[in-house]
Each structure stands twice: as C-alpha cells, then as structure tokens.
C-alpha cells in the first residue's frame, strides 16, 4: 500500500534516483532543472521507438523530436536511417528546425545528433513553412517524470506542451498523431495523476526495459491557451508572435 506523494515529493525522489544513471549536460552539469538528461540505457529506448508503426510506416511519416539529451541517440539513429525530423532549439528560442539526413556527410551523423552539431546542418522553418509540411505521425519528448495514465510532470514538460499546442494550432496534429515519452524506469510513476488542460497526455512511455501503451483516444485537440502565455518564458518567443500573426490574418 502506498500513499500518493505530492508532485514535489515525487520529483525529489526521482531526481535522487536519476542522479545514479544520468549523464551530465555539457553546459548545465547536473542541474536537472535546466535540462532533460540523458541516462544509461537510452539507446534501448531508441531501438524500441524505431519499431513503432509511426516510424516504420513510410506512407505517412513526419517526426518531431524535442532537444532533450535522452533523445540524442534516437536522433542519431534517425539520421543513420535517412529519416528527416523536425526539432526545436533549446527553450524554443529560435523556433523549429528541420534536419534532412541527406545533407549530412556520413562521418558527421553522430555530430549532427547533438545540440552543438545540429545547428550546422538543420534548416530553420518558419511556422508558415511548417504549415506546408505534412501532419506529424509521431512526436517524441523526454521529461522529468510521467504517470501511469500518461501525464508528464516535474520540470521541463512545459516546453513540449507548448510545442504540441503550436503544432496543433497549425493543424499539424490530429487524432492519429502518436506521442511518445522517453524516460528512465525511475521516472515512471505507477499512479494515476490528474492532467491540466494544457498537458499533453502521452500514448507511449518508453523506458530502457518497458514499452507501455496508454489509451488516449479521448485526448483533446491541442491548442494554445493565450490567457496563460503572458509572463511565461513563451511570451517573448518569435514563434508566438508569428502564430498570432497567422491567426489574426485568418490563415488557419
């Protein structure tokens, strides 16, 4: 019998466990409040992800990946397989970029998968350019912690929720879009957590040892809750200005 902890308590507990398997960031060291870390076994997560129909089905394949460190190996394997993907820069500061593996010399695949190397080969996409592309079949993120019903919590999830909201507003997600969360086993919490209206609940939790499917058939269509934006780190983003522009012009 276990009493449910508060999200704060979970986070502390998880970060203590995570520190044992995490890999430090090249800039933020062990400051888990500043980045989503890579961890031992993340390679096994990417291998499992690569088996998802949303990737293997070439007919409709458009992939979004967050700039989280635990997804570096996934990005590397996508590049190796010649599969293009869309990613944001850290903190969404410079918006969305698309990486086309065809543009990368073979020797630089691993380099292009890192945040330092990504910039060299990826091309920036305005929201208007993004609108011209296909809907996303798969969106992959990391996170601090995730519950049994697919609610992500703890530091860091705000960015992905916002990316999902923006892509949804642009009409680039639909009910068949699959959302996967890559975490270490110690970041999976076997409890049901309440979701806030702006939370994106995930369809898959992928850990080094497990691949958990969660039914999200009732997931709401994503949207930007404009009343929540002022005063957040999102308020000053160039993509926010562009999205307002697009909406004001009635281009959606």
């Amino acid at each position: 019998m276990s009493m449910a902890l508060t999200t704060e308590q979970y986070r502390e507990q998880i970060w203590a466990e995570l520190a044992k398997v995490a890999r430090p960031d090249s800039r933020f060291h062990w400051d888990f409040s500043s980045f989503i870390c890579d961890f031992e076994g993340s390679e096994k997560c990417s291998d499992q992800l690569l088996e998802l129909a949303a990737i293997t089905d070439r007919g409709r394949r458009q992939i979004f990946v967050t700039p989280d460190n635990c997804l570096e190996d996934l990005r590397y394997k996508l590049i190796q397989r010649g599969i293009p993907f869309v990613m944001t820069t850290y903190g969404i500061v410079r918006g969305f970029y698309r990486l086309d593996p065809a543009m990368i010399p073979v020797g630089d695949h691993r380099y292009a998968a890192t945040l330092d190397g990504f910039d060299r080969y990826a091309k920036q996409l305005s929201l208007r350019q993004l609108q011209e592309t296909e809907k996303f079949s798969l969106l992959v993120t990391g996170g601090s912690a995730v519950s049994k019903n697919g609610v992500r919590f703890g530091k860091g999830h705000g960015y992905f929720d916002f990316e999902w909201a923006v892509l949804s507003e642009l009409g680039l997600t639909d009910s068949s879009s699959v959302v996967a969360d890559v975490v270490h086993d110690c970041q999976f919490v076997n409890e049901v957590m309440p979701a806030e209206k702006h939370d994106v609940v995930v369809d898959w939790v992928i850990t080094p040892t497990q691949k958990i499917h969660i039914d999200q058939s009732s997931r709401q269509h994503g949207r930007v809750f404009w009343e929540m934006v002022p005063g957040t780190e999102f308020a000053g983003l160039s993509i926010v200005a562009e999205l307002r522009d697009i909406q004001n012009l009635g281009l959606l």
Binding site: S26, Y90, V93, R94, T114, D116, D119
Partner: protein, 306 residues
C-alpha cells in the same frame, strides 16, 4: 512631478513611459557609463548632484544604483564613493558590438553573459594561428571551451595533436584528447562540448601533470586589450585554469598564449587587473597583433608586477 519630468526629459527619460523611473535612471546611468561620459577613474558625482541631474528623488536614484551594483557595473565603496567597474564596462560595450557577428550557443542562444560565442569570420582567425610556428611546434595544446575555437580544436585533432580542454565552468575538470588516437570520423564531434567527453579522458587538477608540458595556450575571450589582457565572461575561469597549470608547472611565463577574437572584441585601453594569463598574440578575422611588443613599450609597471 513637474520638476522631475523636466530634468529627466533632458536625459532622454520619460515620466509618462511604462518603465518605472528608477529603471529609466538605471538605463541612463548605464548609457553614460558605456559612452564614458562618466569616468572609470574617478567616483561618480555625489548623490545630490545625480539627483539634480536626473531630477529624481534620493530613493529612486539609490534603487537605480543598487541595481547596477548588483549587476556588477558599479561598486559602492564605503567612504570613497561609487565607481565604475572597468572590466564590466568593457564587457558590455563589446557585447553590444558582438551581437552583430556572434553565433548562438546550442543552450544559451545569444545570452553572451554565459558563454564566449563563435563569430562570423572565426575561420580566418584560425588560419592565422595555424600558420604560426607556435602551432606547428606544439604537441600539447590547452584549448579553452569557447565556441569561437571549436574548429581550431578540430584542426588540432586532425593534425594529430593532443588537446586539454576544461569542461564548461570547470564542473567536471579537464578533458584530454589525443588526436593521433581518435578515429577520423570522431574528430568533428570530439571538438564540441557535447562530444568531447565521449572520447577524452577526464583529468582532475591533480592529474594535470600527466599531460606533461603544455606547448601552447589558445583561448577565445569576451574582450582582449592591446596590452594583452584577457577579459572573460565574468567568472575568470581562464585565470583560474592558468593558476592551476602554473602551480603544477605545466605552463610558465614562456608558454605562448594566443587569443582568437573578432576585431570588435579588441579594446584599445588598459585594464587594471591581476596579471594572470597574459596574452602574447591576438588573431582576429582580419589581423594578427603581437601584444608582447606593446606591453614591453607601454606598460612597464606590468613587468614589475610580474
């Protein structure tokens, strides 16, 4: 309010603007410091004079000054007055210029306070280094973890040299990479901060002696002066690293030190600071400056301090 508005308007501040008065005074003061209307060498005018100048109350003025002290641009010295911190003034002037040519960091984007950026034209600066005899002769090179020299770290690895690179903020000590032992396809990644730890061995300060003598030190900078001062991002890591290496005897006064910067980072003034790691050569996108000569001629007091 009538009295305040008139005088403040003279300095380009607007009581009707959205920004609070103290912020406007702070910004005006910053401007006066950066354009050197307010000098570094003498204290700021007295409080009553400044209150008069801006037409604001003592409380507003103090709040503005407290902000600037906290930000490191001013220092309030008991009984002596308030002074401009020269290094910080230089940094801010250079940051303004640098934002035109700097390339964003993968984490810090354009927040130049947190990192030394790569810049348009850095490759031309690297080529000047690669032509020098110090480079040709160097087997072991200390390379700062600055973005502006990432491709020079790569050039060193390709040339089969050994490089010693501190981790960002020295959080995980130093990384030692041997270009002659790395696979050719790994070198590009090994030259980045994200990749170097995958390939190099980690050394604590105590292990530095294993590296042997360091033949050359290469660094980026926020700013450099023509008398060979290195001004970093504010935490003075290079000075600390230099001290560690000197204590262990792997560098000494004869070790050549080369800085890679954009022209806009070269400052023609002397900075009063502890002489730690003095630069010998500055390579920029357009020129190569031997500052040892300038130092011998124009700054005799520095030699005395050494």
């Amino acid at each position: 309010m009538g009295k305040e508005s008139k005088a403040v308007a003279a300095l380009g501040v607007d009581v009707l603007a959205d920004a609070p008065l103290y912020e406007q005074v702070r910004d005006s003061l910053t401007r006066l410091v950066l354009e050197r209307t307010l000098s570094d060498s003498t204290p700021l005018p007295t409080e009553p004079n400044l209150m008069d100048l801006f037409g604001v109350s003592r409380g507003t003025l103090r709040r503005a000054i407290e902000d600037l002290v906290r930000d490191g641009l001013l220092s309030a010295e008991q009984g002596r007055g308030t002074f401009v911190i020269q290094e910080e003034r230089v940094r801010r002037v250079v940051w303004q210029r640098l934002s035109e040519v700097a390339k964003p960091d993968s984490r810090f984007d354009m927040d130049l306070r947190n990192f030394v950026p790569d810049f348009a034209g850095s490759t031309a600066a690297h080529k000047r280094v690669a032509k020098r005899s110090e480079w040709a002769q160097a087997q072991v090179i200390f390379c700062a973890p600055d973005n502006s020299i990432e491709l020079l770290r790569l050039a060193a690895l390709i040339a089969g040299k050994k490089i010693l690179v501190p981790t960002y903020g020295l959080s995980r000590g130093f990384i030692f990479l041997d270009g002659s032992k790395l696979a050719a396809s790994d070198k590009q990644l090994a030259a980045t901060l994200d990749g170097m730890e995958k390939f190099g061995s980690r050394l604590g300060p105590g292990d530095l002696r294993k590296v042997g003598k360091i033949d050359l030190v290469i660094t980026g900078a926020t700013a450099v002066t023509l008398d060979g001062r290195h001004i970093g991002g504010g935490q003075r890591y290079l000075a600390l690293e230099w001290l560690m290496m000197r204590e262990l005897g792997v560098v000494d006064r004869s070790t050549p030190v080369i800085a890679i910067v954009h022209d806009c980072q070269v400052v023609d003034e002397m900075v009063e600071a502890e002489p730690d790691c003095l630069l010998g050569i500055i390579c920029t996108n357009t020129q190569e400056i031997d500052v040892r000569v300038a130092r011998e001629i124009s700054v005799p007091q520095l030699r005395r301090v050494q």
